[in-house]
């Protein structure tokens, strides 16, 4: 099937098998490896990308269902060679260890800040509740998201 959508600010038209998910499309169809395969069941959150500014699970959403929509992956977070404030805050505060959950967490955070530019700590924790990190314990992650919100 043919799919057209906007990907990281650019129009994208591609062919994909009907049984592909968005994750298959991004990684195998388009070679964008920033979006990770974790549990494959929508639980861990590492495949989180944005569709029309909201977080979705790339492993559960059928590729056909993003036709005409606007996707942002971790590769599209930086703009004109400048890191997103969320990326800067994660780097400065060491909010990653192995890094496998980081793309999904940054996109969940991006969705939060698009909708609510000044979240409370509770709102940050709620927005990240679907993203599992097995290394850091979340403290630095939450601090980084709050710092990114404060830096705008």
């Amino acid at each position: 099937m043919t799919l057209s959508f906007t990907l990281n600010g650019q129009p994208c038209a591609t062919e994909a098998p009907e049984h592909w998910t968005v994750l298959d499309l991004l990684r195998d169809g388009l070679g964008l490896m920033g979006t990770k395969y974790g549990c494959g069941e929508g639980v861990c959150g590492t495949c989180t990308v944005l569709a029309d500014g909201r977080p979705i699970r790339a492993c559960l959403v059928l590729a056909a269902h993003v036709r005409g929509r606007t996707l942002v992956t971790v590769e599209g977070l930086e703009l004109d060679g400048r890191l997103d404030p969320i990326q800067t805050a994660f780097a400065e505060r060491g909010a990653a260890q192995c890094g496998y959950c980081t793309p999904g967490i940054m996109l969940a955070a991006k969705a939060l800040l698009l909708e609510n530019p000044s979240p409370s700590e509770h709102e940050v924790r709620e927005a990240l509740s679907g993203n599992l990190c097995r290394c850091t314990g979340y403290t630095k992650i939450v601090e980084a998201v709050l710092a990114a919100a404060g830096s705008r």
Partner: protein, 290 residues
């Protein structure tokens, strides 16, 4: 890991979708947001040959207030329902329950029609919709019909849908005047998990504190979401005292028929129903809930 290959059909109207479901050989499944179905396919629990997607059918994701009733198109996402001003103002119990579904990135894809058709016992929206006396509007090859949510769940993961029937909308009447509602979800493992038990309640008290209406919906308390009718009956016409709340909670626990699974045993579920029904009723009475 890829999904097993399947054909994807994308009809552009409900009649086309009904026809697509009807004409196919092998196993066809309807897909809305996919949050339940794709996960089940990934686990190998269902192996459909074809999926019929409702994404191209127009008009299925509207939120409309019509003649005092809320009408949610079947493809309305949990994220849109929880953000809707009309829902938050007029049906706050529903907004609260939908907000507790899984995680933000699931709520943006999962739909209210899909949640009901999945007929999971541990649904968060179902206990609220049971309390609100909602009805499910269904279309099929024999026409349209409305099914009260109280009769929509037929068994374990089984909705009262005929093979070619599709959930088109959910209609929720205005709650009784002065009613207070709330939803509590007990998740012993992690906050975004499915409820071990979920309790929705809606009570209306008169000036003397007597229950003029009492409705209790339970998730995780039986093979399907249920109303705790005997507990409700005990409360109606009575003052909502601590002991009345306790008696109702004990009755709700007794009329529940919970299953044992990895999350918890039937006995533990029954005990938690008793605890959370009582807490919610007292919280609604005291204005600390809902």
């Amino acid at each position: 890991m890829r999904l097993q290959p399947f054909r994807l059909l994308e009809p552009e109207s409900l009649p086309e979708a009904i026809e697509a479901l009807g004409r196919l050989d092998g196993e066809a499944r309807l897909v809305a947001g996919g949050t339940a179905l794709v996960a089940m396919m990934r686990l190998g629990l269902v192996k459909p040959d074809r999926l019929v997607s409702l994404h191209r059918v127009p008009g299925l994701s509207r939120i409309r207030v019509d003649g005092g009733a809320l009408e949610l198109g079947a493809m309305t996402t949990h994220a849109d329902i929880e953000r809707s001003r009309a829902v938050r103002d007029g049906w706050p119990l529903l907004a609260e329950a939908v907000h507790r579904v899984a995680t933000p990135a699931i709520r943006t894809s999962g739909t209210i029609g899909g949640n009901l058709a999945y007929a999971e016992a541990a649904s968060d929206p179902a206990p609220a919709l049971l309390c609100l006396n909602a009805e499910v509007q269904v279309v099929g090859s024999k026409g349209e019909r409305a099914i009260p949510v109280t009769r929509f769940f037929r068994g374990f993961y089984e909705a009262a849908l005929e093979p070619n029937e599709i959930v088109a909308a959910v209609r929720v009447p205005t709650p009784p005047a002065g009613a207070r509602g709330g939803y509590v979800k007990f998740t012993p493992r992690s906050a975004e998990d499915k409820p071990l038990v979920g309790v929705a309640a809606l009570v209306a008290l008169d000036a003397s504190g007597r229950c003029v209406e009492a409705r209790i919906g339970l998730g995780g308390a039986a093979p399907t979401p249920i109303r705790a009718e005997r507990a409700e009956h005990l409360l109606r016409g009575e003052p909502l005292t601590d002991s009345a709340a306790r008696a109702a909670a004990e009755t709700a626990a007794a009329e529940a028929d919970p299953l044992s699974d990895l999350m918890g045993s039937a006995d533990y579920r029954r005990e938690m129903i008793r605890v959370w029904v009582r807490r919610l009723l007292i919280g609604l009475r005291d204005g600390t809930r809902g």
